[in-house]
Subunit: 336 residues, 2 copies
């Protein structure tokens, strides 16, 4: 494949994808909202902000332990909005692209999951579009979802400040490892399940106790915790130092990661958030997270320090410190 | 293929698609906005309305005379918003699903077209998502776009009233016939080009002179003028009577329609609107449309009468009257 062709890495959530977005998709764009490249866009609206985001989902398999493409499509966009502080979701739009011959029973199951997840997130599908392609022109189903939310204060993923604590709302790596295990029929024992869930309720709980103290948020989807933190650190011009021992990873995810030879910090999560929180408010935020069903295992996993490199993320392993690098080659296509 | 599978007709914009949406995609939904099944959804917001819409585009070929999938993706969603009266577009979200190996040059051309069309519509892409699938998992590119607009007054496609004039903003059938001609390499002479264009400026001009007199709008995309008017007439419980001689069809489109054996009233338009206008204001509206570059050939093509059947659309041919029926079998997949 020559360099003038789309590569799988262009969809991996790392530097190749950002280069494609900046160099091709946004070529010539100058408006600040887009170049901020948050998980969504915020538009001033009266004295509040309208937040707008969208995600296309192509996960394979479409049904996996812990979820399906329907739950993923709603959670993906709800979480993008929540990461910008917009926990009140006005509504979603769902575009469904189907392959001729796709099972209507599967479609019913997926839509039932879409509705249940919308209910969980306190929102609903307001509009959509349906297209059918011939057999072989698309593999099964692509769900593309957009959402609109509203907030008084926009949280940017670049808002980290030296001194902040880095909080993760639970165990990491579950989604990506569950999907890869299902795809490869690993038949692992244990309860490895995707964490896919809408996080607006959890984030609302955190912001309710310490809104101004939450300086930045991002959900670690493609590229995992490493990818999300590298992007946040680069944009903020700070260094993030993580303590490996404090990062929650489930036994099942750890086992799958070893079998698959994949770092849990590099795979997608779909029901977790990373928060940069003012140091003196982190206990209050953790208490609020722990009180929510989706935040029981929230933990402080690191801190933000003055920049000593270009957006470095360092991992203290107990035996030393190593720099975490985004994955760019070896992408994991169709993980979400 | 058995009945429990997705068929091409499910994407054709006619009764099979509406049955799929009502029976599967919206099963169990009860909220009025969705069941109204307009081109988008309207949410009350302060003393105005937020209008939200989305479209997935899978057109094949992706470059066709008069446009490309990029121009189509922006026009599609802008037009959905404009049809509901929301001519001020706050912004768009663009989800790009790419096949590994897709030409980056083609992608650049498409994005350049996206930007140019946004400029034409006075809006911009605010956010998006990029996914890459392996070769053979998707055919080239799928562009899924959502948009948010704002309006003081929502226009519903079901608002037709007996006595209204039916106005079309220009020639019909150009988009579908241009795409089919390109796909089949017909090499027709003449200037058959897609009409794909963002209509919010044109609609704004019409609403500016006679806002309250525009009772209903819809853009005749999949299913064509016939499909759009049957849906509007059914929802409003009225009959629409068209005069065949007054319906503008270009020479090139008429020639292609004859070669392809397709009724121009049954194929997609992507730069036209149908308006139901109070009879005493139709001249004012036509004047406003004629003064706009996209409305030179706007014409009054029919009238709304009391219901004499169940949402019938009748065509007066000069030799008699026949009832127009939506196409359901023989779909034209990937026309938009």
């Amino acid at each position: 494949m020559t360099d003038d062709r789309v590569k799988l890495a262009h969809g991996a959530g790392g530097p190749a994808m950002r280069a494609l977005i900046r160099g091709v998709l946004l070529e010539g764009e100058t408006h600040a909202e887009t170049l901020a490249m948050d998980d969504g866009a915020a538009v001033p609206f009266g004295d509040r902000w309208l937040v707008f985001s969208s995600d296309a989902h192509v996960v394979q398999p479409i049904f996996f332990p812990g979820g399906d493409i329907g739950r993923l499509s709603v959670s993906g966009v709800v979480n993008d909005l929540a990461m910008m502080g917009a926990c009140d979701i006005l509504g979603l739009a769902s575009n469904v692209v189907l392959e001729e011959g796709f099972s209507l029973d599967s479609l019913r199951t997926i839509q039932s999951s879409v509705r249940a997840t919308c209910t969980e997130a306190g929102t609903r599908i307001l509009t959509g579009d349906t297209k059918v392609m011939r057999r072989g022109e698309v593999d099964g189903i692509v769900l593309s979802t957009a959402g609109v939310g509203i907030t008084d204060r926009v949280v940017r993923n670049a808002g980290l400040r030296p001194g902040d604590a880095i909080v993760v709302t639970g165990t990491v790596g579950d989604h990506g490892l569950a999907v890869l295990s299902a795809r490869n029929n690993l038949g692992l024992r244990g309860d490895l399940r995707s964490d896919v869930a809408p996080l607006n309720g959890l984030v609302r709980a955190a912001l309710a106790v310490a809104s101004d103290a939450v300086h930045a948020m991002k959900d670690p989807t493609r590229g995992g915790v490493t990818g999300a933190l590298v992007e946040m650190a680069e944009k903020a011009g700070v260094t993030v130092v993580l303590e490996e021992a404090s990062i929650p990873v489930s036994h099942a995810a750890r086992a799958a990661a070893e079998v698959l030879g994949i770092d849990p910090l590099l795979v997608a999560n779909e029901g977790k958030a990373l928060l940069a929180v003012a140091r003196d408010r982190v206990e209050v935020v953790l208490d609020a997270l722990h009180a929510h069903p989706l935040g029981h295992q929230a933990a402080c996993i690191g801190r933000v320090v003055e920049n000593t490199g270009s957006g470095a993320v360092l991992l203290e392993t107990g035996f030393g410190t190593r720099r975490l690098l985004e994955r760019d080659s070896d992408p994991l296509p169709r993980i979400c």
